[in-house]
Symmetry: C2
């Protein structure tokens, strides 16, 4: 069986972002049950110099979207970072998943050897081949932000388990 | 270029566990500089019902090791969970990386369609094909525990940045 770049990107990221949306649903239910504004959770951080939940969700979605677009040599859709509610973040995730799953495996064919140039802060540019870009940058990064979103919620008393993170059938 | 199961497992997990070892090195230095026992960090948790740092590191390493062994249809080496210091956890990570990198790509060839049966708690058994096992279970799980280890340390004031998590050249 041939293993595709699609299997290493879209097939990893779309379900993981879907699971994150379910995790956010439980966060909304927890806030309602404990009678506080869900915005408290959206602004929560694990350290003063770490990003709050809203940004963790936005960044997880953007890294998945932009990474697949880079590999596909497409201009990614741009989403403004304007979400202020859990529902809006879930809509952002849904739009991101729609984009990811709209990219067919054929478009990513051969992208394992594509040159990826990634401008970062401070004027640096990272350079990777497509496969290495997924292995060393995109995959760890997407799971970093999804896990940190989960950890922020667990730290704030939302009842979640590993199966919420891993998704149905696990 | 052919994308291998090795590229989706060993090549993802070994560098990520190496980066975790560097993160632990910074944790040791932070404890020394702030003049407290490093064991305080090893026992730290993000929630009372989440696992402490030591277990996050052990589990990240074990899921990587056992997942690759399953795909290779090998009996994985067993490591006792006896570590009580950062140095011992780093040695555990080094032994795990040694095992991972000892598995040649040829042994994982064809494992994308191998039947993987994974006993979980409560008498359930998860069933996957090899590729799906990596996508839905092993990869998210390994990064979950590595990220949570990082998050525990950040929450406890250890000075770390995303580049410590992603590793050199990022």
């Amino acid at each position: 069986m041939k293993i595709s770049m699609h299997a290493l990107s879209v097939d990893l990221f779309a379900p993981a972002l879907g699971n994150l949306s379910s995790v956010l649903q439980k966060a909304a239910a927890s806030a309602a049950q404990r009678k506080f504004e869900p915005g408290v959770l959206l602004a929560a951080r694990l350290a003063p110099d770490m990003l709050p939940l809203t940004r963790q969700v936005q960044i997880a979605a953007d890294i998945a979207k932009n990474s697949v677009a880079r590999l596909a040599a497409q201009e990614p859709p741009r989403f403004e970072d304007t979400e202020t509610t859990i529902e809006q973040l879930q809509a952002r995730l849904a739009r991101t998943i729609d984009f990811l799953t709209s990219v067919p495996a054929s478009v990513l064919e051969g992208s394992e050897t594509r040159d990826i140039r990634l401008p970062t802060g401070g004027g640096r540019t990272l350079e990777f081949k497509g496969l290495e870009f997924l292995q060393r940058w995109a995959i760890p990064n997407v799971f970093f932000h999804i896990t940190t979103a989960y950890d922020i919620l667990r730290h704030n008393g939302v009842e979640l388990g590993k199966r919420d993170f891993l998704g149905s059938g696990t």
